[in-house]
């Protein structure tokens, strides 16, 4: 049965996040041939509409307002609910990002709908739209369906493959005017931290450092390796608490959840809260001087040794590989 599905596109620093394209792919599955409508909410975001179409949306509805310059749950909820009211979709997909986590339960609450959060896969099975999601810090998985309300889900970044980009695809980008009022919580200040380079939650390669890195300078060899591999640098809570790096690099239950193709953990013991943020990675490499470290239990490959010796050697070896291929 085909159905109409909405996808909220999420912009960061003026461009769409990858997870929005992944959400479109999920929406396509849910729609079963029905229409997929992108939604953009912000101050001046309509220019991004075309890209949502290139990644598979059939058309896009834009809500623009000065009061939507920054995300607030009140402002964005009003905008998204107005689009839902106009479009009357049967499904809705958001990224499981800070924004998606904050906004989706509110929309579900308002519409008295089921909501499946943090889905890592979606499929049509036995006449149902079935979502897979990790539970118990990734120690188990559950398959769930929505039984009442919208087929509503948030999708974990880097897990669902986006559709191939078709630059020639066109679709209508229309705007809906919504009166945004009564913002009960307003942002006074945003303190942006590090996050230079590749967005950690979308990176294909993540090089992560823990307390074993020992100092802020200790991250230098990791950064170099990340650069050679076109990856991002991450960290454990231990490294963040010790002030070796900023909390914006933290991976785990409290920090970011990452699912790269390659995760290299350097000087990280492998506490369950850390594993919760990375155990879904395709390939995990552990570098730790303690052969008993828990991280080796989840690693595909391990080197027992001093990271300050191993990491620079790895960087050299990858450089050679790049030259050869």
């Amino acid at each position: 049965m085909s159905r109409k599905v909405l996808v909220l596109g999420e912009a960061r620093d003026g461009s769409l996040r990858n997870v929005s394209f992944e959400a479109i792919a999920a929406a396509k599955t849910i729609a079963e041939g029905g229409e997929v409508v992108g939604v953009l909410v912000g101050k001046a975001v309509s220019a991004l509409g075309a890209e949502l179409v290139h990644y598979g949306a059939d058309r896009v509805v834009v809500v623009e307002d000065e009061k939507l310059t920054q995300y607030t749950s009140d402002g964005f909820a009003q905008a998204l609910l107005a689009v839902i009211d106009q479009e009357k979709p049967a499904g809705l997909v958001l990224g499981h990002t800070s924004l998606g986590k904050d906004l989706s339960p509110r929309i579900a609450g308002r519409l008295s709908s089921g909501l499946i959060s943090d889905a890592t896969a979606v499929e049509v099975a036995g006449g149902n739209i079935v979502f897979t999601r990790p539970i118990y810090s990734g120690k188990a998985f559950e398959k769930k369906i929505v039984t009442d309300g919208l087929i509503f889900a948030t999708v974990r970044p880097n897990n669902i493959t986006p559709l191939a980009k078709e630059e020639s695809k066109t679709g209508e980008v229309s705007s809906l005017s919504v009166e945004i009022k009564d913002l009960r919580a307003v942002i006074k200040e945003v303190v942006r931290k590090a996050t230079e380079g590749v967005d950690l939650s979308e990176a294909k390669v993540v090089i992560s450092g823990g307390r074993g890195v020992k100092s802020e300078e200790g991250f230098a060899p990791l950064k170099e390796l990340a650069q050679v591999l076109g990856g991002a640098v991450g960290a454990s809570r231990g490294a963040c608490d010790a002030d070796y790096c900023d909390y914006s690099l933290q991976i785990g239950q409290t920090g970011k959840v990452v699912t790269p193709d390659l995760y290299i953990a350097c000087g990280i013991s492998g506490a369950i809260q850390h594993l919760a943020g990375m155990s879904n990675s395709k390939v995990i490499v552990a570098i730790n001087k303690d052969p008993e470290a828990n991280i080796f239990k989840v690693a595909d490959y391990g080197i027992v040794g001093d990271l300050f010796e191993v990491v620079p050697l790895l960087t050299e070896e990858f450089k050679k590989l790049k030259v050869h291929s």
């Binding site: 339960p105 609450g109 539970i135 118990y136 398959k143 919580a185 945003v190 552990a286 989840v298 490959y301």
Partner: protein, 257 residues
């Protein structure tokens, strides 16, 4: 101030997960207060101590949940409420829990409601915002700082490592992120006192709710454990050779580079 904390009893973080008849086996497992709810409780106590008032910790659960509620009382909460659904509801989800909590809270005139940003077992992070929406009060999620001045509130919120400073007002619901505070341990006198503090137990009936009112809107059709990973390969030999081998394996076997 009238302060409420939403608390979930969860599996201990370190607990191994075993399936039994397609369900998570709870026999013999250790249970704890959801770690993020400990931050919520601690913050509630600090707000009360600075502003006066009372802290009530509420949990939707079963008889066993009494233990974690007693721990919250031992930390210093004034009252605890257990909404025991064991006999009434078989299958619930985040809607169920939020609906029950909101129904309990709706005429309590709460000034501040605190919860965890996520439960470490179910891990949806839905319950807090759903409760706020049902009560029609503002909410701020994943907070790392809370300052209250009369009815004005300034909150710092963690947004994927960046932080936002938000101005809002009471009544308000917030969800706690790690970094908000250092939760205290219950003291021995605290534990003694907790035994005499009020712990009310309610059922759906007491909230004028029928089973239908709280029927889940999602359904779990399968629970499974991730495929057992083959033991990883710990490389051996000369370090230079190990590094060469690793790069080779990543390139040709794992094909990720």
């Amino acid at each position: 101030m009238n302060i409420y904390v939403l608390m979930k009893r969860t599996f201990d973080t370190e607990e191994k997960i075993v399936l039994n008849g397609g369900k998570i086996n709870e026999d013999g497992a250790e249970f704890i207060i959801n770690p993020y709810d400990e931050y919520a409780i601690e913050e509630a106590l600090q707000v009360r101590d600075a502003n006066g008032g009372e802290v009530t910790v509420i949990s939707v659960g079963n008889e066993e949940t009494e233990k974690q509620l007693r721990t919250a009382l031992a930390m210093g909460a004034d009252k605890a409420v257990l909404i025991n659904t064991e006999d009434d509801v078989e299958n619930g989800d985040q809607f169920t829990t939020a609906k029950i909590l909101a129904e309990y809270l709706k005429n309590k005139e709460a000034d501040l409601i605190l919860g965890g940003n996520v439960a470490i077992d179910g891990a949806t992070g839905q319950v807090g915002p759903r409760v706020a929406e049902l009560l029609n009060i503002p909410y701020v999620t994943t907070i790392t700082k809370l300052e209250i001045d009369g009815t004005n509130v300034t909150v710092t919120r963690d947004v994927e490592g960046d932080s936002e400073v938000i101005a809002t007002s009471l009544p308000l619901l917030v969800t706690a992120q790690q970094g908000l505070n250092e939760p205290r341990y219950p003291s021995l006198p605290g534990i003694m006192k907790a035994k005499k503090k009020p712990l009310d137990e309610l059922e759906l009936d007491d909230l004028d709710l029928e089973e239908d009112d709280v029927e889940a809107k999602t359904k779990t059709i399968e629970i499974y454990l991730p495929p057992k990973k083959e033991a990883g390969r710990v490389l051996t030999g000369d370090l230079n050779d190990q590094v060469k081998e690793l790069v080779h394996l990543l390139h040709t076997e794992a094909k990720v580079i």
